[in-house]
């Protein structure tokens, strides 16, 4: 089960309100490479993952991603608190405002709502872990791009932390693939699907 611990993984303290920046950062809440998709991907893939260490890694990273989702929500929330009339009309924020006011809604920056079509649970451990490697890289680039777009030091402080987590997760998923391969047929790792076929 899940139990809420009433603190953020990393402090989020954004002094300046900036709705335009919020309308970009929301993509890591509900965009194609965002934290909601990341947590659901890993927490869903674990059911068909063979071997306890791999289930553990997916559970632990998936849980951490839920904490990242909360941090992105905190950034968007703090960037849009107490908005003036001028601020809601600021470039780029009006399309978000008209549908969600200053609520936090899982959507891509483009306005496309969060969709499970941006993630996969293939039920084959090599395919799923390879997807996870790609997912961490895509999220890392999204954070790169946010750092290029943002000049708010309070926001960037948090984004740099989140970006680095993607690199660490990539490393762990790569090691998990190696651990997996050692248990497969050494002449042909694709001989069967260890999550489905009985050896």
């Amino acid at each position: 089960m899940f139990v809420y611990e009433k603190k953020l993984q990393y402090p989020v303290k954004i002094a300046a309100v900036n709705p335009k920046l919020a309308s970009v950062i929301i993509s890591q809440y509900g965009g194609p490479d965002g934290e909601l998709g990341a947590s659901l991907r890993y927490l869903s893939q674990r059911y068909s993952m063979p071997y306890p260490e791999l289930r553990g890694l997916l559970t632990d990273i998936g849980t951490e991603e839920l904490g990242h989702l909360e941090m992105i929500g905190a950034i968007v929330h703090q960037l849009t608190r107490r908005l003036s009339e001028d601020q809601i009309k600021a470039d780029g924020f009006a399309p978000y405002f008209v549908d969600h006011t200053a609520g936090v809604y899982p959507t891509a920056a483009s306005g496309f709502p969060w969709t499970a079509a941006s993630m996969q649970v293939k039920g084959d451990p090599i395919a799923d872990l390879t997807e996870d490697l790609a997912a961490e890289q895509k999220a890392r680039v999204t954070y790169d791009n946010i750092l290029r777009l943002s000049d708010d030091p309070d926001v960037n402080d948090v984004i740099k932390f989140l970006r680095e987590r993607e690199i660490v997760h990539f490393q762990r998923f790569g090691e998990a693939l190696q651990n997996l391969r050692e248990r497969l047929n050494q002449k042909n790792v694709y001989y069967m699907n260890p999550a489905f076929d009985r050896s």
Partner: protein
């Protein structure tokens, strides 16, 4: 500190199946930052600290009970992921145990002065205190330092 010298290279299998992606294994007993530095860098491991265009957090968080707890919690989490793929690293296991102990102590201190972290601990002197302090995403949650 040169983070890209040989000590930061990983281990690849000597013989490896074709048509497979490979990430080198992080060697056992890796160098580590302190928990406080690890928190602002986003990793406990200097060898995995790979920033974009030199953009790095250099200033450690002020020494509040919350930040101390976040740093310790981060060390536990980071070492936990490491141990998921390096379960035979005895030194990392011992370090993990030490950080979890420090975390327990930090949690007790934090809850005494800053309110409950868990709902099941949210009764104090007959009063229900779960909602009496700001929620973590609120800006003013930072002013309770």
């Amino acid at each position: 500190m040169d983070q890209h010298d040989k000590t930061c290279c990983g281990l690849l299998p000597a013989s490896a199946p074709l048509a497979n992606p490979y990430v080198p294994f992080q060697p056992e007993n890796p160098a580590q930052y302190s928990a406080k530095t690890g928190l602002i860098r986003g990793t406990l491991f200097p060898c995995l600290d790979l920033p974009l265009l030199g953009m790095v957090n250099t200033e450690e968080k002020p020494d509040t009970l919350l930040h101390q707890l976040q740093a310790l919690g981060f060390a536990v989490q980071e070492l936990g992921l490491y141990l998921d793929t390096h379960q035979n690293d005895a030194e990392a296991t011992e370090l993990f145990r030490q950080y979890t102990e420090l975390y327990e102590t930090g949690m007790a201190q934090y809850q005494q002065s800053c309110g409950p972290l868990f709902q099941k601990q949210a009764v104090e002197n007959g009063a229900y205190t779960w909602n009496s302090k700001p929620w973590p995403w609120e800006y003013r949650a930072n002013q309770e330092d």
